[in-house]
């Protein structure tokens, strides 16, 4: 079990600020395993909340205009498509009719989630509607995942602290739609003060919730880990929680659901923690989807200096280093970090076993390096490489800085190619 000293204190106390809208938005046209087709053309005038792009198929996703403006075209960056929208700063809105929630069925609810472009805010970007598809086992437990185990991030914390009542209303709605038995808010021990807040708000709103305090270990926020801590069930990677009567939603997702069903607003913004060990002004901010990183850095008084720093989209453990300041915030980005560059050399593995001890999936990371380097894909498979959740815990503790993640990613590529 890995304990990472928390670095949340940098941003935990900060109010949720608002980042001024940029002039140019680069709207990501990719989602969870799919690509969206633009529904607008160059030169079109669009209004805030207007549907810009959607895709069909199983993993359907859609995206809406964060502001009103003019479509400037699409472009490709690092193999991904983006739609360029120029802000006209006139804030003309278009909103759908308010949904009648009294008689909404589960199917309709799921349908709406797709329409409003709601994706897993925890980073996966899994289309939330899919979790609400009818399923043989009725959902008993709704888990609201407030375990934000990434050491720098406090975006979910800020939501729970400042928007408690809204989150509760969304949770109650979900419970009603699914006919579930209980709602469990799962929070980490280090955020224990939220328990009182949540329970008080629940009392005031006359709803019944449970609050489960989870350990501060990393990666406690992973879906499998949360399910185990709350229900005691250990689900194998790849199994579907709904088949065990469980539904897990991140607090950020819940916030989107609230906005969609209570205000008819599609997802166009989210809370992002801006922090890191080389960050000038840290804090939590409401940021519109499609806002380029360069704009965020400028607004918070940070510089883009690739020689000394790394800019990371997401958390320090599972986020991705960005290669271009034009890349935008997407629906799964909980953080933007300015970090010190890490050392590049590795020592030899000293077989300390630390990586094995901390692996939440109980794998043997050092052996993956061995098998990947010797090209032994059969053993990679036998030692369950595909069960790895890429949490980075093993690389975090390794005293020798063995390239564990590199070998894990490459090994996975080999396995997926062979399959």
């Amino acid at each position: 079990m890995l304990l990472i000293p928390s670095l949340k204190s940098k941003t935990k106390k900060s109010e949720v600020g608002q980042i001024a809208d940029p002039e140019d938005f680069y709207i990501p046209l990719d989602g969870y395993r799919n690509v969206m087709t633009p529904l607008v053309e160059i030169g079109n005038q669009v209004e805030k909340y207007q549907l810009l792009a959607a895709c069909d198929g199983l993993f359907a996703a859609s995206i809406h205009a964060p502001v009103s403006g003019i479509v400037k075209g699409t472009f490709n960056l690092n193999g991904k498509q983006f739609l360029h929208l120029q802000n006209d700063f006139r804030n003309r809105e278009t909103l759908a009719a308010v949904i009648a929630m009294e008689e909404i069925t589960q199917e309709q609810f799921a349908e709406r989630l797709f329409e409003y472009g709601i994706e897993g805010a925890g980073g996966s970007r899994f289309p939330t509607g899919l979790k609400f598809k009818k399923n043989e086992t009725p959902i008993k437990t709704i888990i609201v995942n407030g375990a934000e185990c990434e050491p720098y991030l406090s975006a979910d914390y800020a939501l729970m602290k400042h928007h408690t009542a809204e989150l509760l209303r969304a949770a109650v709605l979900i419970k009603k739609v699914l006919g579930a038995e209980q709602i469990v808010f799962a929070i980490e021990k280090q955020n224990k003060e939220l328990e009182k807040l949540l329970l008080r708000s629940a009392r005031e709103n006359e709803v019944k919730i449970n609050v489960k305090i989870l350990p501060d270990s990393y990666p406690q926020g992973g879906e499998l880990q949360v399910i185990k801590s709350v229900t005691g069930k250990e689900l194998k990677k790849g199994s579907i929680p709904a088949q065990h009567g469980i539904l897990v939603n991140n607090v950020g997702t819940l916030w989107s659901i609230y906005n969609a069903f209570f205000h008819s607003r599609p997802t166009i913004e989210r809370i992002v923690t801006i922090s890191g060990n080389r960050c000038a002004n840290t804090g939590n901010y409401k940021v519109k989807i499609g806002t380029p990183i360069a704009h965020l850095l400028r607004e918070t008084g940070n510089e883009w200096n690739p020689d000394e720093q790394m800019i990371i989209l997401g958390g320090a453990m599972m986020g991705k280093a960005v290669s271009s300041p034009l890349l935008p915030i997407h629906k799964g980005s909980g953080g933007l970090l300015v970090m010190q560059k890490l050392r590049l050399e590795s020592d030899n593995c000293i077989k300390c076993g630390a990586c094995v001890d901390v692996c939440p999936q109980k794998l043997m990371p050092l052996e993956f390096v061995r098998f990947n380097q010797s090209g032994n894909t059969a053993s990679l498979k036998d030692f369950n490489l595909l069960d790895c959740i890429e949490c980075g815990a093993c690389a975090y503790v390794c005293p020798s800085d063995v390239p564990l993640m590199e070998n894990i990613f490459r090994g996975k590529d080999k396995l997926l190619k062979n399959a």
């Binding site: 890490l342 050399e345 593995c349 630390a354 109980k362």
Partner: protein
């Protein structure tokens, strides 16, 4: 190397603080320092000379051989040579001739570490490898009573911690704190245990190996009688806490460590009743070193959400145990017919061969 250039762009972007090879080694050195002090108390400058020469020679050997065989310049910085030198010295008599000590350190580094490909790649504990080389190539000196029966050289013979009481209990307690017999690292059971506790608190070793080793040994003594079993408590503690837990040569998984420690405990007992007078500890650990990787893999943790086939596992463990017992009787037989040195010769030839054909090509691999 391509592996390394990628690092900046792959998660995680945060590292555990105070987690580097140097700090791991520094912790081991800190844990061993009280023993150096006790050795000095017992045999004065003489003890310090052996320890100092062993450490200096190990460091020198590390620099020279790393450069020649691995083409690496900065290996000294990792600190593992210091640990090897200290541990080697702790298995020696304070009266060991210094040139033999130098020979031991050089063999420990060369055959214990470098020809395997360097830090972390060795399958056997370097200090014990060095010690075995000394026993084989300087057999008569190393086992002569001349260097082991050295009461006249003692500097401080007892500490008198418990003034004016001469009860059985106080004598016993004093014996735990300080007892001037055996090798340099064996004089204080308390300091050995304290060092071990320190390493456990710092998370450098886990309790699994020392406890299962000692537990298994006690159990054997209790089950099969301990009348004609004599061994050095200090030696067993030194082995259990510092030698058997050597990271590269011991298993990486928790249950693997438990089994590994247990099997060392059992083989120690077998070697002792089989008539090994001095080398039982080294033989048991070195032999189990050979099985350590296999044990790691056999005892891998149960993967999240998966079931294991207990019956098949048990069968595997049973077969492995039989294999280990067979090898230990083979070693005992060799010992009995005084053929152990052939084992060392074969080991050297095997290593040279392996180094030329495979190990030298993987020097830059981190695993």
């Amino acid at each position: 190397m391509p592996n390394m250039l990628l690092k900046a762009s792959i998660n995680p972007y945060l590292k555990a603080r105070f987690s580097t090879v140097q700090i791991v080694m520094l912790d081991v050195v800190i844990a061993l320092l009280p023993l150096v002090y006790v050795a000095w108390l017992a045999y004065g400058m003489m003890a310090l000379q052996v320890i100092g020469v062993a450490v200096a020679a190990a460091m020198l050997a590390d620099v020279i051989f790393s450069l020649i065989f691995l083409g690496k310049k900065d290996t000294l910085l990792d600190g593992s040579a210091v640990v090897t030198g200290l541990l080697l010295a702790f298995t020696l008599s304070p009266a060991t001739p210094l040139y033999i000590v130098v020979f031991g350190s050089f063999s420990a580094i060369l055959f214990g570490k470098i020809v395997w490909g360097g830090l972390g790649k060795n399958r056997f504990n370097p200090a014990l490898v060095g010690r075995e080389f000394m026993s084989v190539f300087f057999a008569s000196t190393m086992s002569s009573s001349g260097i082991w029966k050295n009461n006249d050289l003692i500097n401080t013979s007892s500490l008198h911690l418990f003034e004016n009481s001469d009860t059985v209990l106080s004598n016993y307690l004093e014996g735990i704190f300080f007892k001037t017999s055996g090798a340099l690292g064996e004089y204080s059971a308390i300091c050995l245990v304290l060092g071990g506790v320190y390493l456990m608190l710092r998370n450098r070793i886990s309790w699994h190996i020392p406890l299962s080793l000692l537990g298994a040994l006690m159990l054997m003594l209790w089950l099969f009688g301990n009348d004609d079993v004599s061994f050095s408590t200090g030696g067993v503690l030194l082995g259990a806490i510092f030698m058997a837990t050597d990271m590269p040569s011991s298993p990486t998984t928790k249950y693997g460590k438990l089994y590994y420690g247990m099997m060392i405990g059992i083989t120690i007992y077998i070697f002792i009743i089989g008539g090994c007078r001095q080398e039982y500890m080294s033989y048991a650990i070195l032999m189990m070193n050979g099985f350590s990787h296999q044990i790691s893999l056999l005892f891998q943790p149960r993967v999240w959400g998966q079931k294991i086939d207990r019956k098949a596992k048990l069968e595997d463990v049973f077969m492995l145990t039989l294999k280990i017992l067979a090898v230990s009787s083979a070693i005992l037989t060799l010992y009995y017919y005084e053929l152990i040195h052939y084992l060392v010769y074969i080991f050297v030839i095997y290593l040279i061969f392996k180094f030329n054909y495979s190990f030298s090509k993987q020097v830059d691999n981190t695993i």
